[in-house]
Structure formats: structure tokens, C-alpha cells
Amino acid sequence: MDTGELLVITMGLPLLGAVLLAGLARRGRTAVRSGALVITLLTLVLALVIAWRFPGDGVVDDGWGVSTVAWLGTQSPWDIQLSVGLDGLGLWLFVLSALLMFTAVLVSWESITHDEGLFYAMLLLLECGCLGVFAARDVILFYVFFEFTLIPLFFLIGIWGSEQRQYAARKFFVYTLAGSVLTFLSLLAIVVWDAQQSGRMTFSIPALTSSLQLQPIRPLAWQLLVFWGLFAGFAIKVPLFPLHTWLPLAHVQAPTAGSVFLAGILLKIGTYGFVRFNLAMLPEASAICMPLMLSLAVAGVLYGALVSLAQQDIKRLIAYSSVSHLGYCMLGLFALNSAGLQGATLQMVNHGISTGALFALVGMLYERYHTREIRELGGLARRLPWLAFFLVVFTFSSIGLPGLNGFAGELLILLGIFQRAWGSGSAVAATSLQVIAVLAVLGVVLGAWYMLWMVQRVLFGPLREPSAVAGHAVHDLTRREIVALAPLAVLVVWIGVQPGYFLQRMAPTLDRVVVVAQDALQQGPVDPRATLGGGATAEQLVRR
């Protein structure tokens, strides 16, 4: 079977499954969750086959495994297409979505006790949406999937969440939507600009990318405006520092599977969007905004780390650590060089694996002790050795221990940002960039501090358990839970030992973005009267 068809089947399977499960709901819990497991497993296998077929050197030009159908019929003046395909940027996130959904289904196995049919249907819809985001090759199709992911997650948080779930679900939804509608407007602006230049309206992402790289949006003020419009949606999704306030609430209130997927995949949609649209389509605006974006990113790194240090609730701690880690991804992206971009993209996958797994572990801990308070727990390593083992592994992965996956990503990101700060080309901005680079290193130290401190308090020292469950025998991880975590642990080691396998498949795609960004950085804006207002100072900084 050719890969295009395989890709469509992989994305259609969860959708079909969701409909099936809604029908199976009356058959009882076992039928529903086994059905969900079978479907996610099949999806995962297909995704792995796709990844295995992906060319080893990563050279895929405008997309690989493409299949395209005109959405609105061939006669319509709107050339919107149902077009999917993968490239180096989307590939691993695509596979990770399928993998994390497998984990999410397994961790929900016992913890979801009502409306299972709807729950697993929503999970599968969410999976379909995420797979679609990473495979979409049409702007509108991308946006449809991008927004669509909100609906299942809204229900997941609202129906199966904790006490404040209604408020959390609505806040999450409206906050995210408020940003993404501005993104929508900017995407339309890109399409319309291109249509005006070429005389033909196209919504295809590769076509728009190459066309906008040849004919960037002018005047530059407009390009900046479009950049900030895109920024609004993606930065909230990431979440970048001042826009992160929805995240802790949503994470803490969401059911475990929701948290796993929210942290693992949905946040990556933001960073993915930055690469796909901001960097690739608006290189000049990206170059101009680079110092500001780096400052926001490093502020997020430090802020997230400091707030994490102060947390008492493990789930909140991991939620804030996401703010910090995603700050790293943004640092890497806006380093605008090869090392930074590759590191950031790898780190997106790494964070998905390690934080997804950490949320799953917190969920397992909560199922056993009905608390997530650090002070109520202690010395659990003796009581729950398997859980302790996995918690330590994923913590090490999260703090970037050499030999595990986090190290590869963080090293590349830091390399990228140091190259940007001390490398040639941006002499005047250098001082502030150097400060940013040094602060970023500080973030790594803080990251190790709060994570290891949490692990130390929860796993080691004298045994401490909530009094309510102290008398009962608390069992260690079941086989199901180990199966849920094991693939992630394997990946942690594999990426850590052999990052090249993953990097070389994404490098050619990212290099195309890098080349454009470098050009924009070196040339600076062509038309001097094209700038307006705030852009001017930053632009001069970059040009000198």
C-alpha cells in the first residue's frame, strides 16, 4: 500500500473508532476500553510503519506520503484541499501522538469509572485531531484540526476532571480560542497576500511557504502584524511566558489521560506552528522579533523553574515545569540556526515523552494515595519500587541527564543559542543575547533542582503515606501500567543513545527553514520606509 493511503487510514482509524465506541457504550466498560485499546494499538502500529518507511536521509522536499483531494469539489473557487503528508518536522510528533494515546488509554483503564464510551470516543477524536495537525498540508485543514482539538479536550476536562473542572474547561477553551482566532485571521492574511501576488488563491502550505519566501509580505509592518497574529494563537498554545496562565489550572483539573495528551502533544502544536508558519513563511519578521522572542522564552524558562520550586502539588509542579521546558523549545527555535532548530524539534518530542510519562506517573500515584501533595508522601521507593524506577528514569530524562533523550535536545538548544549570541552576524545585539544564553544555562540548573528535590522528598527518606491509606496494602505498578510506560522509557534511552537516527530524518526539512531565516537575518529588510513603529529599533539592532 502506498504511504499516502496508509497515512489517511492512520488518521481515519481513530475517527472511525470514536464512532464505533459511541455505539459500543451500552455494551459495558470492558468492551469499550478494549475497543479503544485495539484501535489505538492499530493506529500506533500504522504510525510506526509510516515512520519506518520514512526516507533515512530525511530528504522529502515538499512532503512525503502526500495524498490530496479537493475538499469543496473541483469547481469551487475556494481551492481548499484535504491534503495530508509528512515531513521531517511533523514525522516524530505524528508518531508520538499515536504512542501517547496508547499510554493515555492504558492509564485511564481503571481510573475512568463513568461514561466510558464517551470518554474513549473523545480521546480518539483528540488523537485524530492531533494526527491531523501534524500531517495537514493545507492551511485551512491545519486550522480545522488545530481548533477541533479543543472540543474533545473541553469535554475530557469538563466531564472527567477534578473539582474545578467546569471553570477549568471553559477557561482553557476560551483562552486558547481567543488566541487562535487571531491566528486564523493571520493565516487568511497570508493566503490573501499570496493570492494577490500570484493571482491564484492557494491554501497549500508548501506552495505558500515557497511563494512567501520568494515574495515576502510587504510592507514590513504588515508582515510584523501577521507575525503577531500568528503569535497570539501559537504562543498561548505553547505556552510562552506571559500567556501561560491557563495551563496549570487545565493540567491540574484534567483527568490523567487529558494531562498526558495536553502536555505531550497539544503544547507542541504551538511550537510546531511557530516553525511551520512564523519561521518558514515570515522569515523577516521572525528575524526582527528574534531578540524579543528569546527574552520571552528565557523568562518562561526561569519563571517556570522558580514557580516549580515552590509547588507542593506534584501535578502543578510538572505543569509549571512544562512552561520552563517549552521555553527551551522556543529558545531553540528562535536561535534561528541549525543546531537550535534541530534541538528544539527534538526537545518537543523529548518533552512529550518525559512529561507525558510524568503526568501518567502522577496519575498512578494519585490512584493509590488520593493525594498529590508532596508533603504527605515520602520514602515511596521502598513501597513502590517500579513506580520509583520509572519516576527516576523520566525525571532524569526531563532534567537532561547525559545519555538520556533530554540531554541531546538541551545540548543542541544551548549550542544553538550560544552560536547565536557569540557567533558572527549580530554584534550589537550580542550583549543581550549573551545574557539570555547564560540565563538559559541557569535554567538547566534550576530544572535539575526542582525535579530532583521533588523526587527526593517523594521517593526517599522515611516512609510517609497519607493516614487514610496507610494501613492498606498499596500495590506496586501493575503489568498494565508497566506496559503503558515501558515504550516511553525505551524511547528515552534510544533517543539519548542514538539521537542521530531521529535528527537526520528531520534535519533536511529544518535546514530549509534555517537557510531562509539566516538570509533574512543577514540581509535585513530591503525597503527602509516599509517599517513602522516598534519594529524599527529591533530591525536596526539586527541589521547592524
Binding site: 469539489g73 473557487p77 469538563g158 467546569q166 471553559r170 492574511a189
Partner: protein
Amino acid sequence: MFVDLSTVSLVWPEFMLILIATWMYLGGTFSRGRAMWTGLALVTYVVVATVLWRNERQLTVEAAEGLVRVNGPLIVDYLGQASRYACLGIGVLLTLLAARAGGPQLATEVLGTIMMLVAGLMLVSRANELVFLFVSLELISIPTYVLLYLGRSDRANSEATVKYFFLSIFASSLLVYGMSFLYGVGQGTTLIVGTASEPGIQQAVAQLPAHQQSLFLIGLVSVLCGLGFKLAAVPFHFYAPDVYQGTTHINAGLLAVAPKAASILALIRLVVAVVPPDWAAGWRLLAVVAMASMTWGNVCALWQTDLRRLMAFSSIAHGGYMLIGLAVALASPATGGIAATLLYLTVYVLAALGVFAALAYLSDDACDVRRVSELAGLARGRPWVAGVLAVCLFSLAGLPPLAGFWGKLTLFTGAIQVAWESESGTWGWFLALGLVGVVNAAIGAAYYLRVISAMYFTPPAASWAGRGGPGTALAMSVCGVLVLVGGLLPGFVLRTAELADPLRQQARTAVFTPVTTLTEEPAAHPAPVVVPAASADRPHLVPEVGS
């Protein structure tokens, strides 16, 4: 203005509707069988659609190719032809919705009045003459008063009826007042040219001497006031929350749909066709009203706890959205703004009717579901109803993959297109229009989500019974399914709306010829007038439609 036999044959379907409605009024005094009369009404709509199809298929096909013809007070173009089918569809939905309305005694009165209203809508969609347009609009207003009065017999309902009646009369008189100016300025009552001897208001206005511009402006503003009332656009929206709240779900659904559709169609016929493209006051007015309506409607809806009040404010906001497309069309005719408005209108009608049908399904005269909190736990008790409501509300919020998304997509694309292509002074307006529009989409989501979260996230407060009967259930399901299918496969609606846009390229260069008989070729008739494209020199983005 002339009326001959061919004109009568062109309005034959509408004529049939009015005849049968009258017959139903009479027959209702002899036989009270509600099911029978509902069945008869439904059959009537189907029969009329068939007649329409048989009689005017040739005309419709030619209209789809861009040919525009006029006959007396009628204009035969694709907008009119397609709208008539859509109006019959609205008639079917309203009939299903009203199958149990009006108590045991008044079945035929309610059903017959709805039929009159549908006939009025169908006439408005083809009006090309001021008096004809006004009378058609009254054919919608007067049945609305009757239906409001028949809704329920309590103080709130009486208040709503009286409020609507007086304000509507006032708006109608403003409309007539404005029309009188258009008549004076345009030296005739025909809107778009018929023959060389009768130039039509559009042509007269295009060559208006400078000292008459202000007269035209007065006329235009008055017309906008009159039609803005029907659209419930800010600042003519004050009646809407009270009236919706006071009346029944079914009447609220009718008010949210019929006057709005009529107003948009009349605006397209009257304003968009008549205002010359280089006349900036027109789109500025519409843009201001659009922004005010969207913002005011959505912000006020945030605090509502009464479902119908909430939907009233929501309908005000959606009226504002529809005006975006008209403003775009006025500023840049080739951009497809009218197509976007028509698409948005269609999608809104389905979603709003779906919401009101679902609410009507849960209510009856004795038990009225009023508050948002009364929907608590609906998803447990009645998952299908909750699902339909959720789909319709998400569509109103404009979320993909539901039909409402495509309405927003086309509207905002139009606004951005004008913003990109126009010179300084104009782009800021349309950028603002787009920004206000999208920000409002997010504000709107906040209150729609409140309803959805009441249904899904709170434990059931009461047990639910399908009090509204199978008619409302069917109407609700049809709307929900159409909204979902229209969202996944929007091609057909998008293309129909595109073809129905009277300003698109071919339509603006079409031959305007009177039709005398339905089968005859248009060339056999006197003095066809070729109207030059209103502004063919502007660059246009949307690729050419059709052949």
C-alpha cells in the same frame, strides 16, 4: 412598472402558498385534526417546490450561468431562485417546529400564517421594485405579529407582542420614508434596469448630481434603520431580548430566522445593488453597525441566564457578522462578500433553528425550559438532544468542523482581502472589521460554552421528557445533521452561495431582458440593456466561477 400574465406565472408558487394558507384558515373551522393539517402543510411545501422545479427549471439553470432577467417588479437571478428553495426549506422546518403550537384550537391559524410568511420571504428574494419589496416585507411582518400573539396567553407574551408590533410598525414607516427618497432620487421605483425607457434607481444613483447626494444619504440611512430593525442590528436591537424572552421557543426561533433572512435579502436587493461602488458612506455605515452589533450582542449575552434572552443577544451578534459581508461587497464588489453573507445566513438559520427546536422539544405550554441552569444534566437524560444542541451551539461559535466555521472563513477572507487590496484610509476599517469579528468569535464561545457545560458537566436536576412531540424532534435532528454534514462537506453550500452572489463578474455584465413567457428565448424581446460591470477595473481575487 407593468404587470402582465408572465409576471403572474412567475409568482405562481407563492400564489399557491397563499391560496392554500387561506384555504387552511377556512378549513380549520370545519376540521380541527392537527396531524392532518400539519401533513397538508408539509405536502404543500413539497408540491410547491416541485412546481417551482418544473416551471422554472430552465430559468434557474440560466440564472446559474449568470443571466439576470427582469420582469415587472421581479428580478430573475440565481439569488432569487436559490433563495426560494431555501425559503421552502425554512417553511418545512417551521411547520415541523409549530406542529403542536397554538393550543388545540389554533392549528390551522398557526400553520397558515407560517405559510404566508414563507410566501413573503420568497417574494422578497426576487423583489426589484420598491413597492413590491415593501409589500413583500409586510407579508412577513404581519404574520409575525399574528404568530407572536398566538404564542401564549400571559402578560409576558402580550408585552412582547405589543412591543414588537409598535416598533415594527415604526421601522416599517422609516423604511417607507427612506424608500420615498430613493424614489425621488432615482426617478422611478424599479431598482435595477428593466428597459431603456425606465433606467432604474441603480443607474440614476450612479449619475447622481452632487447636490442630491445628501438626499440619497437620508434615504439610505432611513432604509437601513427600517431593515436594521428586522435584522436586530445595534442600535435597533432593543426589542429583541424582551420579545424573545416573552414569547415561546417556537416564535423566538421564527423571529431569529425569518425577519433576519428577509432583512439580509432586502439589503442585498436594495442597498448593495443600488449604492454605487465608489460611494464610501455606504460600507462605512454598514461596518460601524456590524462592529457595534457583534460586540454589543456578544458582550451582553455573557451575563444572560435566560436561554431565550441569551439567544436573542446571540442573534444580534450574528446579524452583525452578516453585515461584514455586505460592507465588503459594497467596498469591493468582486470580493464575494455577498456570497459570504448568504453562506453565513444559511448556516446561522440552520443552527439557530436547531437550538430553538431542541428547546421547544423539551418544553410545552405547562413546562417552559427558560434558564440555562435548567438544562443541567441534559446529556445524561437525553443524549441526542444534548448532542444536537451542542453541535448547533458550537456551530454558532464558529468552530470547525461545523458549518458555522465556513461562514466565518468566507466572511473574514473577504474583509482581509479588501484590507489588503485597498489604499490607505480603507484598509484600517476592514482590518478592524476582521479583528472585531474574530475577537467576537472568542467572546461568543464563552457563553455558548456555558450552555454546553450546563448540559454536560453538571448532574441532572430533573428528568426529561420529549414534551414538544415528534415534529420538533425531527426539525431539531434535521438541523443538527445538516450543520454537521455542512461542516464536513461544505462544497455544495459554498458553491451555491457563490453562484447566488449578484455582484460576481458574470452577473454584473449580464443582459437585462424582460421575460414574458417562461420557455421563450430572451433575445426575442425589446431593447436589451447591457449594464457595464460596476467596477470591472478593480482587481479581484476569487477565481472566476462556473464556465
